[in-house]
Symmetry: none
DNA sequence: CATGAATGAGTATTCATTCAT
DNA sequence: TATGAATGAATACTCATTCAT
């Protein structure tokens, strides 16, 4: 059944995150699912294949969120805010997977590593395009869309290292803060009668 | 001599970054410095000690920059901008070390890992405090300083994964963009006299 | 059914020859007959038993041929020639089995290996006796019958390594050549009125 | 030193012969030379490399003997007799190596197996040519040189299975018998008071 | 009859580290 | 200082075989 395979994948993901890919032995995984080492090989081809599956799981999610958001439309600021919120949520919900992806994907054989990197690049490009369109539309400042995108992704992805479900802020709250910082910046527009920006 | 020790450290850092800590063998390091495996042990205690040294190198730098900036004074926005610029510069200049730090420090034994994490936390706190003071002084929006700080650190640290000296943007330019996004946000304040409050 | 068992035996023989006994897995055999690994065990006791069966198949054939030839009678030269022809034919027809027998029978457990060797020895003895009787009768040169027998068996058995159905010579032709060499030698009797021997 | 490497090679050869290549473990070899398993790898690259070395050792010897014999000249019958004697001697002296070569060389990776087979073919061709020249010169019967050569090689090589230093016949005696059978055949030329062939 | 699941025992190989020279 | 030799411990993976269904 797929049940056992899923159990193995879950155990592997958890262990890879806790101890790292190399430090996790097939023995560890076997014990975690209550099987003998050899029995694992009925369900998976190799340890590496396990890593590949774990690492490959997530990019889909990000793309799906972006699809949804673009379909929903709205101003660029609204779309970008939604994208940030979605990204934060995915990172919080799949922290384990993403930790493995970010920390261990270099252990994949070149071809697979390349595939994972390709997915990542594609996602980056989509987000960059969104920003570029916002800039072109005069809705965003004339920033460099590539750099801005990487700043945003960095802020969100970095969560994999510090987020905790027991932490002070909920994913929702984190997302609110990130949106505010990224969309409006930290600095209060100085005085003047001239308007402060509209809160998105 | 310290010369040899430094050579070994350099080789280790480079290899740890290229192939990862586990995938790098003492043999690799020995070949890189033109010694035999066994000879390395005249200079270093163990592979782990090597990792510890590499990983421990950098936090000092960040603190030093922050010292300098705080000593120089200026508005909170100026200080924060300077901190971002400094951070970006350090990441660009020590990408190798930071890659090892970010990716491999979990391979350290608990006590050492804790020490490294402690340094990191201390740096985060200093930056958070700076933001908190800016907020208290009414210079920054009333954001959550902790979240804002982590967003900034994420944006900057994430560079370890994508920055390339041959890339399109120089560290200087990257810093400019980051400062702009983080201090002023992406969204152009909508004109008009009618100021909307800094809601959100 | 015996059908399935035979199929398995055939597949095993073929694979043992192609890849060797150790390199052939039960999986390989199962795939070759379109069953699952576990299902093989309804027909056979073990992989070793399979090898034993394959290895044991052939000696019967050699003995049967010798029975037939001795029953038919004739001069010793005629009988020996017939034995060589028969042996060559059997090797050509059962090359697969004999390859396994010659190359892999040492993988059998001592007792079975001994049994196979016993059969081989018995065949060798019968052929040696035939030669010895020919020598005693003054029909053959006063050679050492044991050595002569092993020379003959070597020449014939070695075919397992080089014979090919697509080769230049048919088994019949090979047998003709072997008979000629073994019965009359390579060297042409020098001159003299004395005739060349009758071609057997 | 080469000493240890040679010891390992000797142990491997002996064990490969006794138990077969697959049934011999690196542990066995290590114990035989009084080292730990891991230590073997200071001297050899892999188990397979060990087999290759053992298997590759012998063909050189056969060629060297043939060189010597052809240089010495003499009638074709004399040369062939010398070749047979030499071959018998080499087999007796290197039975261990040849057993491994004949029985286990199919365990080599294709490219190396091919190389070994190439050497074998070259030796066969040289011997075939010698016979062919003898036939052309009218010194040998008009046999098929290829078949005759394979008969001879079979007779000699087969010794790897039955020869024993403690056996009834010395290599010298075996060679005498083989030469007699192959050069003059088993059958006594019938009739006439006239000459028996020259005993070579 | 057939098989999916499970396993125990085994196997080559790697690697950081030690130590006598 | 430098190293060749040696090793203990670990590790992923294989495979013949068993058994409940």
């Amino acid at each position: 059944m797929a049940g056992r395979e899923q159990e193995i994948l879950d155990a592997a993901r958890k262990l890879f995150r806790q101890k790292g890919y190399y430090a996790t032995t097939m023995q560890d995984i076997a014990e975690a699912v209550g099987l003998q080492k050899a029995s694992l090989y009925h369900y998976i081809r190799s340890k590496e294949a396990l890593l590949l599956q774990v690492a490959g799981e997530t990019m889909r999610l990000f793309h799906a969120e972006l699809d949804r958001i673009e379909a929903a439309g709205g101003s660029y600021a609204e779309q970008l805010a939604a994208a940030i919120r979605a990204h934060v949520r995915v990172v919080a919900e799949h922290q384990e997977t993403l930790t493995v992806l970010f920390r261990e994907s270099h252990a994949l054989p070149p071809e697979h590593a390349e595939k994972v990197r390709g997915e990542t690049r594609r996602y980056t490009r989509r987000l960059t395009d969104l920003i570029a369109r916002g800039v072109a539309a005069g809705e965003f400042r004339p920033v460099d869309p590539g750099a801005a995108c990487l700043a945003i992704l960095g802020a969100c992805n970095w969560m994999y290292r510090w987020y905790s479900a027991e932490g002070r802020l909920s994913p929702q709250e984190i997302a609110d803060q990130f949106v505010q910082v990224i969309l409006h910046g930290l600095v209060l527009p100085r005085g003047g009668p001239a308007g402060t920006p509209a809160g998105v």
